[in-house]
Amino acid sequence: MIKHFLDLEWKQFTRSASFGKSVALKIIMAFFALYFIAMFLILGVAMYPLLKETLPEKDPFVVFNGFIFFWILGDLVLRFFFQKLPVMSVKPLLTLPIKREKVVNFVLGKSALSFFNFLPLFAIIPFGITLIVNDYDVSSIAFWMLAMVLITLIINYLNFIIESLTAETELAFLPIIIVAGSLFALNHFEIINFADVLSNGILAIANNPLFILVPIAILAVVYYFNFKILRKKLFLDSSLKSKVQEVHASNMEWTRFFGDVAPFMQLDLKLIWRNKRPKSSLMLMVFGVLYGLFFYPNPVYQDMEFLFAFVGIFVTGIFLINFGQFIPAWDSGYYKMLMSQNIKYKQYLKSKYTLMTMSVIILFVLSIPYVYFGWKILLAHFAAAIYNIGVNTYVILLGGSFNRKKIDLNQRAAFNFQGTGAVQWIIGLPLLILPIGVFALANYFFSFEIGILVLILLGLAGIIFHQKIMTFITNKYLASKYKMIDAFDQDN
């Protein structure tokens, strides 16, 4: 049976319209994966000597175990944003003589093979080996490594439970951040010292292998919970028939201000507001605005001026990147209709452009309080906003004309926690790297002000040639019209 499932997965991958693009993306992903593997390997090998040097009076093994609590917290948050439960279209399988348990076990089993679960091994194994080389007891280190693997798997399944519990809510990412944040705070202010408790627990496993049963039991429990959640979703009426939503209508007369673009803007606003997936990109704006707080309060970054441009582009452009890269796939469900309707392509694209520009302006205004950390930051954000409006919006619209992957807004398929995956962030990279590179060069060879000026000039050039660029992009879309219609007609 598993062989059949694997076969289906392979066919789904190779036969989809976006196959070519997926392969290119997969290659980029592979580079990232290799990078992380290298980092973890270095970490694993260097850990022992490093700890020995910095804290010579302490046992490196004990010190390392003290970090595990933070690793678990960080890993949980990261996975929440980047790791999604493998998607499988189960509807056709439901009526076939296949036990539901089998489908669920397959999906859960497949998730255990995720890259996220292998990554820690690259640090844990070399570290374990160096420990053994340095005369630690072989069997206790072996059990310690086993415990680490079990913890990784526990995090893996715990993440899916959290995701499925929060998937229905709108600010899905808030609970995880609040919980992780408060656990961290409780620990940090030593109200409850989780790090020590956990560290002692793991040391206990190393000393007495019998305790390994504890993580095994926890793993069994989280797996069982996942199993139950998914098993419940495997019925037609619970997952395939979505809840009927009550409509909140508003006529949005203010969009009339934008003239003939108005009907499309209304449509886009409804699209964003009424569908879970685009709505999450709206919610990410909150996260985006606060992003600067990771950097600016830290005096280390005060002199790294190229960073201001990076944060600026990111903060003012987070909606643009998130929403923009799925143009026109957001409309893929009814693309055929749009193409046979009496519409001007240019208006359609203009609406998306207006929407993204508005988001940049709003985000810039919201980011003005960062001036508290220095006027240079405000200036950098302003330049970044102009650049986003004048260059990045076009780049992302142009990129959209190569878009061949359908988005199913109705998302009736089970297991479909559509949201932000790692792939989505990678597409955003050129939008970030290019301006930062330009700025960093100008900043390095000339001055901060010149760097700002270059970004603003590039942005202004884009704004001045708006009509020309839009016509060019429109023609690109027209040229790939048939291909897009064909691709959006396919299910995967």
Partner: protein
Amino acid sequence: MITTTNLTKKYNSNLVLNIENLDIPKGQSFGLVGNNGAGKTTYFSLLLDLIEPTTGHIKNNNILVHESEAWKPFTSSFIDESFLIGYLTPEEYFYFIGELRGQNKADVDALVSKFEDFFHGEILGQKKYLRDLSKGNQKKAGIVAALIGNPEVIILDEPFANLDPTTQIKLKQIIKELAQEQGVTVLISSHDLMHITDVCERIVLLEKGEIIKDIVTSEATLKELESYFAGTQAV
């Protein structure tokens, strides 16, 4: 109104449609029948410029459909559910289509109110999104949306499928009225030979992409088609 000349469509080397010549005059109700894979939907898709012709062309009111977009203002269609926007309510969808076709809300309201009977109280004022309606109700909304904005050409693919018997009968009346009283050119395809002979003045039978029969509908047409599809008559 619609002239098709030397039209072919090939997928790889597989010829799926080959129409040398087909003229549909203004105000005709035109029916397309044929088994699965006969090329009905392919023809409609070509007519709407959703796919590219391999050779030949279609002229809609003397406009080449795959070169100009000037046919769009007077042509409307409903091919399948992918023509609907799932996250809109039926009213919003009608207004949106109306706006694209240069109609204000009052115009759309006036038109839609004529179809209250057809909707059977299950479409308007339900506070439901289109995606939450049943397949049949979605189809009703789609068909009515295709009537917005006084189109001169209306294309409906399989309009009778998924509809309940009451609605099928009402739909037949609507189509007849459009062609006879308002001079609209209506193109429909169907597997239901009864309905299509009832509604259409002219029926073209496709098989493997070729026109096999081109009949002006009469009393004998239904029998003729039935015996053809039963395979009892030599072509």
